[in-house]
């Protein structure tokens, strides 16, 4: 295996791993933000 192929394979593996991590971070952030929004909405609701 030539050096450039090793670089390519390592880059692909690292990129896939960190992209999955980034997507997880974005999804968790959205979930947390939505939960906080619901909590704030519940607090602000005035009972009739």
């Amino acid at each position: 295996m030539s050096a450039d192929m090793i670089v390519l394979v390592v880059s692909i593996i690292v990129s896939v791993f960190f992209t999955i991590h980034s997507v997880q971070t974005i999804v968790r952030t959205r979930q947390r933000y939505y939960e906080e929004y619901l909590k704030r909405k519940r607090i602000n609701e005035v009972p009739r």
Partner: protein, 131 residues
């Protein structure tokens, strides 16, 4: 740093070498490459260094997350630097390295770095902001 500031100050400014190369390649009568691995890698390095600076300035998030993202940004900067050095070798010794493979590796790494930078900024902005 807001998302607009990140986009204007980091993404647009980081893409200037790439955009200017595209413009020159489109206007020139000579055979100039449209995309260069060096321009892409410098954009990726700029993103990861901005990331490190952003993570340092975040105040209200947990320290474990900060350490993890800091480590990933350092890894990205190191990898991009290594691929940049190899791309320089590939220019001087084209028989030893395939410049096509180096270009593909730099595109993939830079895209992953962009996603990572966006995810860090997204969480920083939404969970308390900066100090």
């Amino acid at each position: 740093m807001s998302k607009t500031k990140w986009f204007v100050y980091t993404v647009i400014l980081g893409l200037i070498p790439l955009l200017s190369r595209l413009l020159i390649a489109a206007l020139s009568v000579r055979d100039i490459k449209y995309v260069s691995a060096g321009d892409l890698l410098s954009f990726g390095i700029a993103l990861s260094i901005t990331n490190i600076s952003n993570i340092e300035n975040v105040s209200a998030t947990d320290s474990e997350w900060k350490t993890r993202e800091f480590g990933i940004s350092i890894t990205f900067a190191l990898l991009l630097g290594i691929v940049y050095a190899i791309s320089l070798f590939a220019e001087s010794a084209p028989r030893d390295f395939s410049s096509r493979n180096i270009l593909i590796a730099s595109v993939i790494l830079t895209m992953a770095c962009f996603f990572h930078s966006y995810s860090v900024l997204d969480r920083s902005v939404k969970s308390g902001g900066f100090s």
